[in-house]
Symmetry: C2
Subunit: 369 residues, 2 copies
């Protein structure tokens, strides 16, 4: 018996991962099943597996049922470690697809260009680790311009002072001068923390062709890691997501600039996300087979009969899976954004369950019966 | 010779005042003029008199020309004191009309009701001083609800802990329970500092009928002290104002709620602002006459032949003065938002000058020739 799962943290939550695991072949529980099938599972995290930092919907039990007592690898990313700790299941960094992972595909275009990254956490570090050489966080960039944020004196942000006396990043050397060099692209890596400052400075950058105060020049490209309007976090009510920030930015920008905002969002329900998930599952399947081989001596299958998307947000998780089509099968839980009794009317899922544990029960019984 | 002036801090800048002064009757310079006229002047502050905290466009000289060496009263409000210090001219609190001054007219309706106030500075104190008994700042209100702001851990706000252990304001006593009492109205008193948090919590309040998580109930009224899209502050480029925040809030709210956002803005170009300015000038004229009488023994005139609006923003200052009609006369300066060589095309002013000093020159020569 073989199965693969993608453990998917919401693409819509900045910094939240998209994780795939390949542990079940070593699970005695699953080894006892007679049927061999080829399927994968993609889990949305916020509202399905976690609410805030707490497991929800029996997710720890459900994942242990999938992974058994498998314990391979050493976590390499903070998110993989965090998930492992919260859920009591080992999640490998290679099993995590970040919402901003697609940004690395833009490396050829911006590797040595000045770019700005915003969002909670350390967005510049994320981009640096993808290989971008001249990335400034919005905190860093904005701090170069006196008075760019007219209410900054009312804030007490904790941001590191990484700027030299000439307003240049120490690490970047003198070749980076934010007062003469145009920003070539802006990236919203995770949920923005300071909406007002970010909307203001993004407008400054984007409407000036990359250099606040300059005229002319086309709007630099703007990339979002996600586009969720709302999501389920620790608070009982859904919280505004990166898509809400995008709407706020867009509505303001379009009032002060003569060209509408142009942007690219890599979040669900973008089909790219689902293609990427399938590709990741396939790669994990291959790498697992390299290590352990198959237990029947046959070469592993790299196409899936079914890929399950387990999510809580009809308009992104379910809509995306429906758009992606075969082999995706959508399962909607009630532990997060969706709270309806019946199916969602706009984007009905193939199956509606209360919890992720019920979803796993269904998948195991369907695939292993 | 008699003249009256309204020294007007932008209605569009939260916390910025609307000041009227009645000093000139004692100015020997003006006493020497032969013609007696009845006029008033309303100055927008940001971009006309100040940029950031610095005088601009010869405003100190211009105002000294108007006020001569008059030095009456002791400043009672922080803003009057601040303006006096910046400009070297005594500005009395009674000469200041705050952008949020109209809120005091709502006292009968909300005096003992739970209301929430947001904006830079101390919006709850502003409302308390108007007489509202149960006002919470957004900082205070939001801090009652754990996790209401999902990115709060990335912020380090400097706000006092004024909440008791039961989540109630100590000052308000146990009768104020934010978990059971509906917010009856929300006030944007000045420029919001934390757009993301404010948009989130305002959405929570407004779409729930005043109590986050509850359903039903009509949207509580929402009041803005101003509606300027952009304004000129210390930064060379115009900055986003309260109107931009309103657009961001409205665009997000209208995406997550089935009824469009309802709100009232008291900012320019609302005709109310100009009526209020005229009324304030008239009251100051009367109070001045009570003290000093008229120097020809005749009762003072309480209608103005001309009211000058000196502003930098065509779409609020000039548009508003044009809409208000007689006796308003609009003068557009180039020290702030407007930077055109000719007149504004959408909202042309009656006169365009470079600086406020030129505007005062024009007014004095017109009225005193």
């Amino acid at each position: 018996m073989r199965f693969r799962s993608v453990f998917r943290a919401s693409q819509l939550r900045g910094g939240a991962p998209f994780v795939s695991c390949e542990p079940a072949a070593s699970s005695s529980r699953l080894h006892s099943r007679p049927k061999r099938s080829s399927f994968g599972i993609a889990f949305d995290v916020d509202g399905v597996v976690l609410r805030g930092r707490a497991p929800v919907g029996g997710s720890s039990r459900a994942l242990r049922r999938l992974y058994g007592d498998y314990g391979g690898g050493i976590p390499e990313s903070a998110r993989a470690l965090e998930l492992s700790q919260h859920l009591g299941v080992n999640i490998l960094p290679a099993q995590v697809l970040q919402g901003h992972s697609p940004f690395r595909n833009l490396l050829n275009r911006y590797e040595n260009e000045l770019i700005v990254a915003t969002g909670k956490g350390n967005p510049a570090l994320v981009m640096s680790e993808y290989g971008f050489k001249k990335v400034l966080s919005m905190d860093e960039y904005a701090s170069c311009f006196d008075n760019i944020d007219p209410v900054s004196q009312y804030k007490a942000w904790t941001s590191d002072d990484v700027l030299g006396p000439n307003g240049c990043l120490k690490d970047l050397g003198p070749e980076c001068d934010v007062f003469s060099e145009r920003v070539q692209a802006a990236f919203v890596v995770s949920d923005p923390v300071d909406w007002g400052r970010d909307i203001q400075v993004l407008c400054d950058i984007l409407r000036s062709g990359g250099l606040p105060g300059q005229s002319g020049g086309h709007q630099p490209p703007l990339y979002f890691a996600a586009d969720d309007l709302e999501y389920q976090a620790a608070f009982p009510l859904e919280r505004l997501g990166m898509g809400a920030f995008r709407i706020a930015l867009e509505s303001v920008f379009n009032r002060i600039h003569h060209h509408p905002l142009e942007y690219v969002s890599f979040g669900k329900p973008n089909p790219f996300v689902f293609d990427n998930a399938e590709m990741t599952l396939r790669q994990l399947s291959l790498s697992h087979c390299d290590v352990c081989g198959t237990d029947d001596g046959h070469p592993p299958s790299h196409s899936f009969s079914t890929l399950y998307m387990v999510g809580d947000n009809p308009s992104v998780d379910i809509k995306g899976a429906r758009q992606a089509g075969h082999p995706w099968f959508s399962i909607l839980t009630r532990t997060g954004l969706f709270k309806g009794e019946d199916n969602d009317t706009s984007f009905p899922a193939d199956l509606v369950v209360d919890t992720v544990e019920e979803a796993v029960d269904y998948i195991l019984s369907s695939e292993c019966s």
